[in-house]
């Protein structure tokens, strides 16, 4: 009798808990769902009270205007190019370094690594103005090379790769050396395959990070034909404050690719996130 009542109370609590999770998730996702809904509304439809939640007559007009009149396709391609290059280059620079800091013995290694970890507390924005002048001297202002440069210097990535490389058994590397494998071959054939999950996570961090980045491309790019999506969207939204439907479509075009990518690879993303942040 008592147990049954306790069971019923537990059940009620469980239902309440699950309902709470549903409500919290709905509230969190509401802005994104509304963004999508309004993007399909006719121009002016969303400027009404009470705000319409679904389009009366769903239309693709806003998307058509964005692509045909405002050439958002170009900005999309720009962003895709910049983010892909940033990802490739960052992996190329960061992965061998992270591995070397974990597994190769050379003088000064630990001291350099300690310096790098200490440098993690310095926000990148501190050096933005001198970096701008430096790139101007190098002739890289208003070029994608200038946009990409900060992604080469990813201390966090080195840290992440090193954490994972520490788990690789040294005997395995020694055995390969005894068999006459070169250090480059060891990296390619033994280390890289074992690192796969964290490489996906790292690639995803850099891709999403460079896709979403705003301040640096805003500073370094002056030719609007070179703009990335966020910079183009910010410029467009300053001119079209009243065109809600158009701006929501622009926001969908900008956020959807990264959301899809994240959903597809979220398992790797979370693993990388936790490897980088929770230690002790």
């Amino acid at each position: 009798m008592v147990r049954e009542a306790g069971g019923a109370a537990m059940k009620a609590r469980a239902i309440l808990l699950n309902a709470a999770a549903v409500v919290v998730a709905l509230v969190t996702l509401a802005p994104l769902m509304w963004m999508v809904a309004v993007s399909f509304m006719a121009p002016g439809e969303a400027a009404a009270f009470p705000p319409p939640l679904v389009p009366a007559h769903p239309t693709l007009d806003n998307y058509r205007t964005l692509f045909e009149t405002y050439g958002i396709g170009r900005y999309f391609a720009n962003s895709l190019l910049v983010s892909s290059l940033a990802t490739g280059l960052a992996l190329l620079f960061v992965v061998p370094a992270g591995y070397a800091f974990a597994k190769l013995r050379f003088r000064g290694r630990d001291r350099i690594f300690q310096l790098l970890v200490a440098a993690l507390v310095i926000p990148g924005q501190i050096g933005m103005l001198p970096l701008f002048l430096e790139l101007k001297a190098l002739g890289l202002v208003n070029s994608y090379a200038g946009v990409l440069v900060p992604w080469l210097a990813g201390i966090f990535g080195i840290f992440l790769v090193r954490q994972y490389c520490l788990a690789i058994p040294t005997e395995m590397l020694e055995a390969a050396r005894v068999d006459g494998a070169s250090e480059g071959a060891i990296l390619r054939r033994i280390v890289l395959p074992t690192l796969q999950p964290i490489l996906v996570a790292l690639a995803l961090f850099v891709f999403l990070g460079s896709w979403n980045d705003f301040m640096w491309p805003l500073i370094i790019l002056s030719d609007d034909r070179l703009y990335t999506l966020p910079v183009a969207l910010a410029a467009l939204s300053r001119e079209h404050v009243q065109d809600n439907e158009l701006m929501m479509a622009g926001s969908v075009v900008t956020t959807l690719p990264v959301l899809i990518l994240f959903l597809a690879l979220q398992r790797y993303y979370m693993r990388g996130l936790l490897a980088g942040s929770v230690k002790g």
């Binding site: 509304w34 061998p96 370094a97 507390v121 310095i122 910079v231 809600n244 979220q266």
Partner: protein, 293 residues
């Protein structure tokens, strides 16, 4: 030199060179630049560059807009950090409950805003917070609260941006908290339960002490994040209304890239670094005093 040593240098040199050239050098140069009058004339001809010592700092300290930016940023930190940490911890505790089903679904749903593009969601929120047509005021009207001019009144603009930032970032902290909650020993919970401790008492005396280091880590990360607000005011309010959302980084951007006062801008950047660094040290010192181990 052995093959291993040589490989060590070959593998690390490209990354170290990039860090030195594009991170360390500019960061250090920021301090040097802040002692010069680097402006649009120096940008055209370096011959116009002069060393001015602490003039930039003196001028900043005499500039009311700089103090406004500092005060605004500190308010963002003071209000925003507890808000996001509390929200993310509450969400994590909810998602950690044993009887909750489909946990991965909720986790991903609450994390999604974090990976969205900031500029795009700022545009969305500018619309959500619209005085007349926004969903936020519509929801408030349904509980009898009159229309709030979120982005047009100096008293509401900061809360408006805080709501947006909290929505955008709480999922990140939540995932970190979720991982930490999994390390809390279940036996402790059971023992407390047998002793008759309620949910709140158990949270207060079992969970919270166990995840205290994570709370510190998350709050350090959040503080650094709130000190670096830029795109939010840039897109949503352009620093207004009445300069109520000018942040330090927004001020630095305008000083540097709108007015081309790169010397003054660098002084702002350096002061920002000192502030973040100082607050972090203060937190670590405080944590050590509260929990000496």
């Amino acid at each position: 030199m052995t093959a291993e040593t040589r490989a060590g240098w070959v593998f690390t040199t490209p990354a170290l060179a990039a860090i030195a050239l594009f991170f360390a050098l500019p960061a250090a140069a920021s301090l040097l630049l802040s002692f010069t009058d680097f402006d649009i004339y120096a940008l055209a001809d370096l011959g116009n560059l002069r060393f001015v010592g602490l003039d930039n700092y003196a001028r900043l300290f005499g500039n009311p807009l700089f103090w406004r930016a500092v005060r605004n940023t500190l308010w963002f930190v003071v209000l925003g950090v507890p808000l996001t940490v509390a929200l993310s911890l509450a969400a994590a505790v909810l998602l950690d409950a044993r009887t909750l089903r489909w946990k991965p679904v909720w986790r991903v749903a609450l994390f999604a805003p974090y990976v969205t593009t900031l500029v795009a969601t700022a545009v969305v929120w500018r619309y959500l917070l619209h005085t007349r047509y926004g969903l936020v005021n519509y929801a408030l009207a349904s509980v009898g609260i009159g229309p709030v001019d979120w982005l047009g009144s100096p008293t509401a603009s900061m809360p408006a941006i805080l709501i947006f930032v909290a929505w955008k970032t709480f999922g990140y902290n939540m995932v970190i908290f979720l991982a930490a909650l999994q390390t809390v020993p279940q036996e402790l919970h059971e023992a407390a339960r047998i002793d008759g401790a309620g949910a709140w008492t158990r949270f207060r005396h079992v969970t919270l002490p166990a995840i205290a280091p994570t709370v510190l880590l998350v709050s350090i990360l959040s503080i650094a994040g709130f000190f670096q607000l830029f795109a939010e005011p840039y897109v949503m309010t352009q620093g207004g209304p009445d300069q109520s959302t000018v942040t330090i980084l927004y001020f630095m951007y305008e000083e540097g890239f709108k007015w081309w006062n790169l010397g003054t801008g660098s002084a702002v950047a350096f002061l920002l670094f000192v502030m973040i660094f100082g607050v972090t040290l203060l937190q670590l010192w405080f944590a050590k005093r509260v929990a000496p181990q």
